[in-house]
Symmetry: C3
Subunit: 334 residues, 3 copies
């Protein structure tokens, strides 16, 4: 995975942040160090068939996941991706948010894809904001973006997206606050990361950790992402950029096909540890299985009171009919 | 209703603002006064069965409404809600935007609900923004939020939401401008506040009054909220926070399940009084009955010219086929 | 078309900007000059039946298009529109974002429409922001808005919207940057500007031109607008209003019925010329024909390498099944 390690150049970088969550997808982390701006990093991604008819991207042979690895870069950097297609399907990798020429577009329109067995290089560049007129600037590339197949099944990659060929891409602006943990959540038709409850990801953090979420929408349905007991600002970073930042604070946000957003929360801040739910707030989607757990452990990593019971309930409940666990809840009182 | 009255501590508070609209839902208003920050207010809410198979929340026995009472608090305050379940159904109250421990989550996941006949206390805390790094802040609780059942019918409260167990919750930042009137609009499947045209709410204000709208989405369908002849800024308050606030101005906004937003307009400003429409802009939703009237009376409260006729047309029209009132309109000319 | 020419009063206006794109819809351009603020401009719009059962608005007899002409004004101006209904249907013109009295609402509710053969005048006013309290302002009219029929078929104009009676309306704030070219894109049910691929509009610009997009949603379905290789800021102008503007940068945005947004990009900046795709990112919508091309030519207007081939592929591909052009793509390599 050495060639998958990007250089971390943040002014505020520390060695401890930006860790991958292997169960969810190995991250291409921005590592400590002080590489110069405008660096080009080269990584290799393997597209592989997975059990259950799925496909995934991975940073090493046999390590493909759904979603694929979280990729990160700083504004100004270039990411050169050598995509190895180990499958028997036409596929590609198409990025949102970054700069690419037509040959790296990832679309059949430009013949920009890998035939079965082929190896092809895609180049993603990024940039800082640039002056427009007056005080205005044309935007840089910073954002919570994503990448996905654009060639399997149809010319828009509908087959590849349906089967798991997607992942998160973060382009950071220098000075951005780096997180302790990172989670990728893809709302895709009636699934989360192509899974339905109770098999959806259980994301874990310790009380007080800075957790970064990247939420991505795919497929044919509309969704809204809701996180219990935590909230964020609906702007670029999820934090108020100053005391006069006019952006609204939200805990529920539209997450529709091709869109993405990200934010950071302090796990359990003001609410304590627990097995907090995240789910689609479209009622028949949450009832149908679009729900998962954000397990906030105690600061020392131990399980907080009640969390085991909540996880047990989550894993057991049918999610489509009236729960039958009406007798085992406690804590009632006036 | 004494215990339902919160203390208003705004620097700009006056005695005349924040009035409830009884026909729509009794508000827990922020009353005049100068209580200290961080106050805890205790209220009791009754969950009751209503005619037509509906359920509602109310601030006194026999006074449940759909939507429930508009609740308000200032950042830093705590709201302690004693929920009395007078129904024969399992139900709860789950809030967006505020802080709560797992026992006040309102979800069966945490056993946080009322069995039939039970009384249970839910505690909602709020907070001001807090420094993050650089000039950045983690957000406070201020926002146009909402609350709803999370336990009736399914573990996500789909049955309770479908039958009317929802309402608005406003958390204000100190210094926020307070309105003269407040309306709650819930777009819920093919209804507005569980009603279809022409039985949807007719909201009323006098020309020049500062009117606050809280718009909430629920259910299984996607919607867009459109208000005729008025517009607002798509940020936290609905107003430009400074001359350089970059937020867009809108008069049509996505209103999807679990989301909410709010804004203030000056009734009839620049357009005059009249029976202005608000409606879902999805065409088969508006045609199907997701439309209502915002009656802006003259400044003295009298009816403006043409308003009676418009109300008459609204109440009579079929809303699903070509209108037949092609002969009774006037004012044509080149 | 003389009466359709508005006065351009921008501080930064030049003679070369704001050009219409005749193939898409004649624009009511803000022309060079220095007319005073608060001017009233009078235009005439003809509503006409078009081939294929469509209807359109036009600035001269026989020139109706789908979408209708792009209309522009500056904050403070008034637009007085004389609508000539040459059809055998009841219809109107209803605007978003601007001020109008009930008689110019464009809705049957207020008898504000044209019967077949009738001529009727609609008045749209606009305004600058106005002080509210503290540093706050009530918004002005500036925005990327739109207009549409509100009377054909149903009282919400569902028939007129379905058949093409819609267009873009831009209200500019003084000092706004003016573009070199302008495109209107309407996502309407399964079509773009009532057309499906490969017959969707091919928008053209030369490398480096400042191109303004106005995106509008209509109908009954939800959509997301995606533009390849270009991005914009999700705020009023699409540009960062200052180095500390907190708005996110996006390249995919919800575009639902009744909503609109706009932005400017520098054609091909950082990515080069090419036949770039724009499309709905809902997968079965893009596969079903909601895709088009943004042809960025070389700076001298000549065709860039590969563009002809891409256009050929786009025009030939079925867009609903697996592409068969698996053999004709090039540029592969490790």
């Amino acid at each position: 995975m050495d060639d998958a390690v990007l250089s971390r150049r943040s002014l505020i970088a520390t060695g401890a942040v930006g860790l991958a969550v292997p169960a969810i997808g190995a991250a291409v982390a921005l590592t400590g160090g002080a590489a110069k701006a405008g660096a080009t990093r080269k990584i290799t991604i393997w597209a592989e068939a997975l059990p259950g008819g799925l496909f995934g991207y991975g940073l090493a042979p046999g390590q493909a996941t759904v979603p694929g690895p979280l990729l990160e870069m700083y504004e100004g950097d270039t990411l050169e991706i050598t995509l190895v297609n180990t499958t028997n399907q036409r596929l590609s990798i198409h990025a949102h948010g970054v700069d690419y020429s037509t040959t790296s577009d990832g679309s059949p329109l430009h013949g920009s894809y890998n035939n079965p067995g082929e190896i092809r290089t895609y180049v993603w560049r990024s940039r800082e904001m640039s002056a427009a007129a007056g005080r205005r600037f044309m935007p840089g590339s910073a954002g919570y973006w994503h990448y996905h197949d654009h060639a399997m099944g149809t010319d828009h990659g509908t087959g590849g997206v349906a089967k798991g060929l997607y992942g998160a891409l973060i382009v950071r602006r220098r000075g951005d606050i780096l997180p302790d943990k990172q989670f990728t959540v893809v709302f895709h038709d009636m699934t989360i990361n192509n899974k339905a409850a109770p098999n959806t990801p259980m994301f874990e953090a310790n009380l007080g950790q800075r957790v970064e979420w990247v939420a991505i929408g795919h497929g044919n349905l509309f969704h809204t992402f809701h996180l219990h007991a935590h909230r964020w600002v609906d702007n670029r970073t999820g934090m108020l950029e100053s005391v006069s930042d006019p952006s609204p604070t939200v805990d529920n946000k539209d997450l529709n096909p091709g869109s993405s957003f990200g934010f950071q929360v302090i796990a359990g801040e003001g609410v304590g540890p627990g097995a907090w739910m995240y789910h689609c707030h479209v009622q028949n989607h949450s009832d149908g299985g679009m729900a998962g757990l954000f397990l906030v452990r105690n600061a020392d990593g131990s399980m907080p009171p009640g969390a085991e019971e909540a996880i047990h309930r989550f894993q057991g409940h049918a999610h489509t009919t009236t729960s039958t666990d009406t007798d085992d809840h406690g804590g009632h009182g006036a």
